[in-house]
């Protein structure tokens, strides 16, 4: 796999809806794979092992991939309107057991490029390049084998993600799906000497595997029913079902078809950290921060959104799939936001906010706004990466300190301005401050909730969550970045600022729970440790942060391009398999629920919110909610003076006005801080019983199953034992027995003859 020359470029025999893509499109995934192999080779060569070579290999190959992606975009953008372009690298699984349709399983290494894949690949490769650049500096303390390992896994991740997004069939998507899971496992467990990191990695992989099983079964069911797993052939086959939906004959759609999306979404929930499988993502923060930024915020976790958007026609024909997705998304958003409000570890807060924002995206999908979801994925990728990388820079500079009670005024320390400003931009985006990218993308989803019949309640839940999001986001900002300049270094204080210790785990956390007691730690002035000086980020980190901050603001621009098609993202999504639903306002009738709604209300009036068009009024509602959240955060956590918007009062790092408020809420903050005990719930309800069952099985195996076998061995032995007494070894006894036997035989003979 090192060379790309043997790549066979075959034309696909798919219907006219697709056309053949350029051969070099296959390079987009394979360059990162090449980089992975090269990083591995570098690790084998001792003299160059401890250089930054792996980082540069990765940055360059990802950069070239990004450039190729841009070229693909430039060349094919127009063509996507008429269908995807497909490039087949080689035949992977091709098994035929008959000549009729449905008797050949084809899953090639074929790459499928349409608006949806293009959108995803643009930010995957683009952000990948930037974050690799960031990581080249961030991981520099670990140069050597670890550095090679990091970048090899990093490249492998981009390859897997590309297979996931660009695969032209569900099985290649599954390859990418599990591949990103593997890379996530390897990178979360990067600091493999820390038991918590190893445990988190394991947890992530296993949780994902549960989802993967759902996905695998969904893929099988798809093949089972439709006889193909290739998009190009699959979606035309779904069309009749959509037609019968349109005609109001829901009962014509076979039950099995309706079950497919239910299985697929289990996979999506696992990978995208939704209820009930979300618990791995916060723990995944044990990994190095660039990994958290790229994998666990910007790209991998949006794979679930991609999956649902890609297979939207299948979701459409199911009566239950999308409502389930909607509720799961909204509830996850709310739950994660409440947990995020009570955490002290800034990286974990960001992790919970990721879970929460992913909930928005799922809800958006369920509201039939693939565009809204994709747009949110797009903006979220930029601003969440920015936020994570800022947290990472803080952690890097303060020896692993992540507790927001032990840091204050970071923005105003020397050399930290870019980090602070980037953080502010990210926070504004996340909290949906007016005219930021996050504002537009979130609004699109929220408005859709009120447009789609039956989802009003979810709409209000999501609006409430938006307020909570603004609060906890700015809680971090007001406490860590503004206010008096105080800090307390983390537990990774080095003898010098050289950071030359490869063995030193960099992303240490105070053990969860202990540091989270109601009693805040004693605030220590920054001169507690004279030998420690925070070291501000270098050029690579600063460049990346500045660029990302600008990009995350600029992402709003996508909303204004091609507005007649719901913005640039909308136009991209429109030219894909998700298109059947990404239609203009007022055309939501395709959905089953909406459809029934239509049947009952002949004159289907457009839904309204507060008597106005939801799309218009949402701008104001969400802006107000966001600003209120920010103001509450300022009041409770803001420092005295302008930094706290003149309503804050905090003067030290560890205490703020919120501490006085918390006891009045009873045990609720404590419960939220303990993540509503979901982990413990799983531990006691699932893991423990399973482990006990394993122990019981072990005993059964040793005693019962093997015992029976041993019994069969024991019986003859026992019989032999009782028979051996006759063998005394005394000659006379033998002779006597023989004589006795003879007598008996003679007697019998006599008896018989008589």
């Amino acid at each position: 796999m090192t060379g790309l020359t043997p790549v066979i470029l075959a034309s696909t025999g798919s219907p006219a809806a697709t056309h053949q893509g350029a051969w070099w499109m296959a390079l987009i995934p394979f360059l990162p794979l090449l980089s992975c192999v090269l990083c591995g080779l570098v690790a084998c060569v001792r003299p160059i092992r401890s250089t930054k070579l792996p980082a540069w290999i990765t940055v360059v190959s990802l950069g070239v991939s990004f450039a190729l992606m841009l070229a693909t975009y430039g060349q094919q953008r127009e063509g996507w309107a008429s269908g995807a372009s497909v490039t087949t690298a080689w035949e992977w699984i091709h098994l035929s057991w008959g000549h009729e349709p449905g008797q050949t399983l084809i899953a090639n290494f074929g790459f499928y490029m349409d608006g949806l894949s293009g959108l995803w690949m643009l930010f995957v490769t683009g952000l990948g390049t930037l974050i690799a650049l960031y990581a080249s500096e961030y991981m520099a303390h670990d140069k050597g084998l670890g550095y090679c390992r990091f970048f090899a896994a990093f490249s492998l991740f981009v390859f897997s993600m590309a297979c996931l997004v660009m695969g032209d069939n569900l099985i290649l998507l599954y390859l990418g799906w599990e591949g990103v899971g593997l890379c996530s496992y390897l990178l979360i467990g990067y600091f493999y000497k820390k038991p918590s990191a190893v445990a988190a990695a394991k947890k992530a992989f296993i949780m994902n595997r549960i989802g993967d099983l759902g996905l695998a079964l969904g893929v099988m069911l798809t093949f089972f029913h439709f006889g193909t797993v290739q998009y190009a052939e699959l979606f035309p086959l779904v069309q009749p079902h959509i037609d019968s939906l349109k005609a109001g004959r829901v009962e014509d759609i076979p039950l099995l078809v309706q079950a497919i999306p239910v299985l697929l979404m289990i996979g999506a929930f696992g990978k995208s950290a939704q209820l009930p499988l979300y618990v791995w993502l916060p723990d995944a923060m044990e990994g190095p921060t660039p990994v958290s930024a790229l994998i666990h915020a910007a790209t991998m976790v949006t794979a679930g959104v991609y999956l649902i958007a890609r297979t939207m026609p299948l979701f459409l024909v199911s009566e239950w799939a999308l409502p389930v997705v909607a509720w799961v998304g909204a509830l996850t958003a709310l739950l994660a936001a409440t947990i995020g409000m009570a955490q002290f570890d800034i990286k974990r807060i960001m992790a919970y906010s990721t879970v929460s924002q992913l909930g928005y995206m799922f809800a958006g999908l369920a509201f039939l706004s693939s565009t809204g979801a994709a747009f949110h994925v797009f903006t979220h990728a930029f601003f969440k990466a920015t936020l994570f990388l800022c947290c990472g820079a803080v952690m890097h500079g303060f020896a692993g300190q992540l507790d927001l009670r032990r840091l204050s005024g970071v923005m105003f320390m020397r050399g930290w301005l870019i980090v602070g400003v980037a953080m502010l931009v990210g926070c504004l985006n996340l909290s949906g401050f007016p005219f930021t990218a996050g504002f537009f993308s979130k609004d699109m989803i929220l408005a859709e909730a009120f447009v789609t019949p039956g989802y009003q309640l979810l709409g209000w839940i999501l609006i409430l969550t938006a307020g909570l999001t603004a609060y906890y986001t700015f809680r971090v900002f007001f406490r860590v970045f503004v206010g008096p300049r105080l800090f307390e270094p983390g537990d990774e204080v080095h003898a010098d600022d050289d950071h030359g210790h490869a063995d030193h785990a960099h992303d240490g956390h105070a053990p969860a729970g202990d540091g989270h007691s109601a009693e805040p730690p004693t605030p220590q002035p920054h001169d507690a440790d004279h030998s420690f000086h925070p070291h501000p980020p270098g050029w690579a980190i600063n460049t990346v942060l500045a660029l990302l901050a600008v990009l995350s603001l600029a992402a709003a621009g996508a909303y204004f391009i091609e507005q007649d098609r719901h913005g640039w993202v909308g136009s991209m999504v429109h030219d894909s398999t998700a298109a059947q639903v990404s239609i203009g306002e007022g055309e939501h009738a395709v959905h089953a629920a909406a459809f029934r709604h239509d049947l009952t209300h002949e004159e289907h009036a457009h839904a309204t919110l507060l008597g106005m068009n939801p799309h218009d009024v949402m701008y104001f509602v969400s802006a107000i909610v966001g600003v209120i959240g920010i103001l509450i955060a300022a009041a409770l956590h803001g420092p005295k003076g302008i930094g706290g918007l003149m309503i804050g009062s905090r003067t030290e790092a560890a205490r703020s006005r919120a501490d006085e408020l918390l006891p009045r809420l009873g045990p609720i903050p404590r419960w939220a801080q303990h993540k509503w005990f979901v982990d413990e719930f799983y531990e006691f309800l699932i893991r423990r019983p399973l482990y006990v069952a394993s122990c019981i099985f072990h005993l059964i195996d040793a005693l019962l199953v093997d015992g029976l076998v041993n019994l069969f061995g024991w019986l003859p032995r026992r019989m032999g034992k009782s028979a051996r007494r006759a063998q005394s070894g005394v000659l006379h006894q033998y002779a006597g027995q023989m004589a006795g036997g003879l007598v008996i035989v003679l007697f019998i003979v006599l008896l018989l003859t008589a």
């Binding site: 098994l95 009729e100 000497k193 595997r209 439709f226 394993s694 072990h698």
Partner: protein, 548 residues
């Protein structure tokens, strides 16, 4: 490809065994290596004649009169499936020889001689077209293995070897009884007009296949039960699996590799070659029962892995779990299931064999396999750890590595062979399993991730933990070039079979389709028209894999 070539594949290792026994002890290792490598060369040369356009046909078939009075012929022949398994056997030969270099220092001649004899016997099993030759080779694998375990194993080796021998021997005797019934049936109950070879005392497997399929359902059921007992022990299928963990734990590394790599496959190969075609009606009748046993094995053995402390025992139990998928695919009796199973035989041999090699390498250094005493080896043995994680992932069934394709196909095969709901699906095939079976078996994927990552988390990652009083032996801390050379070919094959399984799938597809066709054609009440509706190529009255 001529039968001579096949016979020489058996003869070369056997002759090398004699040479090892005759030559001085210090040459034993070298002769064994040359012998196994030469066998590969012979195989490759013979492969030049293989007709790839007819992978389903028995090629290189033929043989010599052996004891004509008893109807015995030394007849051999291979289709593509036997070819693949012989390939696996040949590949593992030199790997085992090289891997044993430092582990075996006493009674070297005996060791290598029996290792070579074992290889000859295993090759014979896959090549045999005569029932007696098959059975002799099948049973003869026990003797070298018994000696390898009882002379070169760990502390409890005598017990393990005895149990291994008696357990599998008892099973195969019962299987032989079933097979002999078919012989008797063919000779006495069938008219010579039925088909060529009917009504004669013959031991030709092709003829017997025909004869078996003509038995009544109840006769087939009894024969099926007998054969499943014999081959099931070998696989091993729950609940007759308990010899395996014991034998694996006590066997020397190379013994474990061969045991997991090839010997277990004798069971699944037996099911494929005998159970499926000889008792088609009974198999379909009872497929769901066998599948349930396989699924119980998958989950049950997987969960047991989780509470093991001995790494080798863990991997041994994982074999039980993994082979469950293989059996599940076999009893699904359709294209994907059978091809998946055949692929699984190869893939499991590679990845689990490699895991045993890796564990053996650690054992040579630390003289323990206890996870309470070992841990965090990544910081001390990075190369070993890289290989370990790689093969663990192959074993977990990560797509892109070999395990995935076969596991997925086995599950797919089970999934798409429903007897009820969904039969009208485009991708549905006739069968008696269905989505529920695949769903339950699929949980094995999760369980596999749990126990293998649990092991990786303890042994590879975490804080370095070494047994007390450990002092470095003659081996360096991390792997030597020799050890890397042992593992690398397997790793390369894992990647190749994972990313480009098409050549293997292509050659497997035809015999497998014919096999499935044969089974469904021989259901009570099946008519050729019914058979055609399954869409398999052409009605084919030859037993699968017949004719040159």
């Amino acid at each position: 490809m001529s039968p001579i070539a096949l016979l020489s594949l058996m003869f070369v290792p056997a002759a090398s065994a004699v040479a090892v026994a005759a030559a001085p002890a210090k040459l034993a290792r070298h002769i064994a290596l040359v012998g196994t490598l030469f066998a590969i060369v012979v195989g490759l040369v013979a492969l030049g004649d293989y007709d790839w356009s007819r992978p389903g046909a028995m090629q290189a078939s033929g043989g010599f009169e052996w004891l004509p009075e008893l109807g015995l012929r030394l007849s051999v022949g291979i289709d593509s499936i036997a070819l693949l398994l012989i390939g696996l056997t040949l590949l593992l030969g030199p790997i085992c020889v090289v891997a044993s270099r430092t582990a075996i220092t006493e009674r070297v001649k005996t060791y290598y001689a029996w290792l070579l004899v074992l290889q000859a016997a295993m090759t014979g099993v896959f090549a045999a077209r005569d029932l007696v030759l098959f059975y002799i080779c099948f049973e003869f694998t026990l003797i070298p293995m018994f000696i390898l375990i009882s002379l070169y194993g760990s502390t409890n080796r005598k017990h393990a070897a005895t149990k291994f021998f008696l357990y599998t021997f008892t099973g195969s005797i019962i299987a032989l009884a079933g097979l002999l019934y078919v012989v008797w049936f063919n000779a006495t109950k069938l008219l010579p007009t039925a088909f060529a070879g009917a009504g004669t005392w013959t031991l030709d497997i092709g003829v017997l296949t025909h004869a078996g399929a003509s038995m009544s359902l109840s006769e087939q059921s009894w024969v099926l039960a007998a054969m499943m007992l014999g081959f099931g022990v070998k696989v091993p299928l729950f609940p007759v699996h308990t010899w395996l963990p014991l034998a694996h734990t006590e066997a020397p590394t190379a013994g474990s590799v061969i045991l997991a790599g090839v010997l277990l496959k004798l069971g699944t190969y037996g099911i494929y070659r005998f159970v499926l075609p000889m008792t088609p009606a009974a198999l379909v009748e009872h497929a769901h029962l066998i599948a349930v046993l396989a699924i119980i094995g998958i989950i049950y053995a997987g969960l047991i892995c989780w509470v093991q402390r001995d790494v080798k025992k863990l991997v041994a139990y994982s074999s039980v779990s993994h082979l469950g998928f293989c059996v599940l695919g076999l009893v699904a009796v359709n294209g994907p299931g059978l091809s998946g199973s055949v692929l699984y035989m190869i893939n499991h041999g590679l990845s689990t064999g490699a895991l045993f090699l890796l564990i053996g390498m650690v054992y040579e250094r630390y003289h323990t396999r206890d996870m309470d005493e070992l841990g965090g080896l990544a910081s001390k043995m990075p190369i070993w750890s890289t290989f370990m994680v790689f093969f663990v992932m192959a074993s977990v069934g990560l797509p892109g590595l070999n395990g995935f394709v076969s596991e997925f196909l086995c599950l797919l095969g089970a999934f798409q062979s429903p007897s009820g709901l969904g039969r009208e699906g485009l991708g549905a095939t006739p069968g008696t399993l269905g989505p529920w079976f695949a769903g339950f078996a699929g949980t094995g994927m999760i369980v596999a991730a749990i126990y293998l990552l649990y092991m990786t988390g303890r042994v590879v990652f975490g804080q370095l933990k070494e047994p007390r009083g450990h002092h470095a032996g003659p081996l360096p801390t991390d792997l030597t070039v020799r050890e890397i050379a042992v593992l690398s070919p397997i790793a390369v094959l894992c990647v190749l079979l994972g990313l480009y399984p098409k050549p293997v799938l292509d050659v497997v597809a035809e015999p497998v389709a014919a096999q499935a066709q044969w089974v469904w054609d021989h259901q009570p009440g099946a008519t050729p028209a019914h058979a055609e509706s399954h869409g398999v190529a052409a009605p084919n009255d030859e037993p699968p894999g017949e004719g040159e």
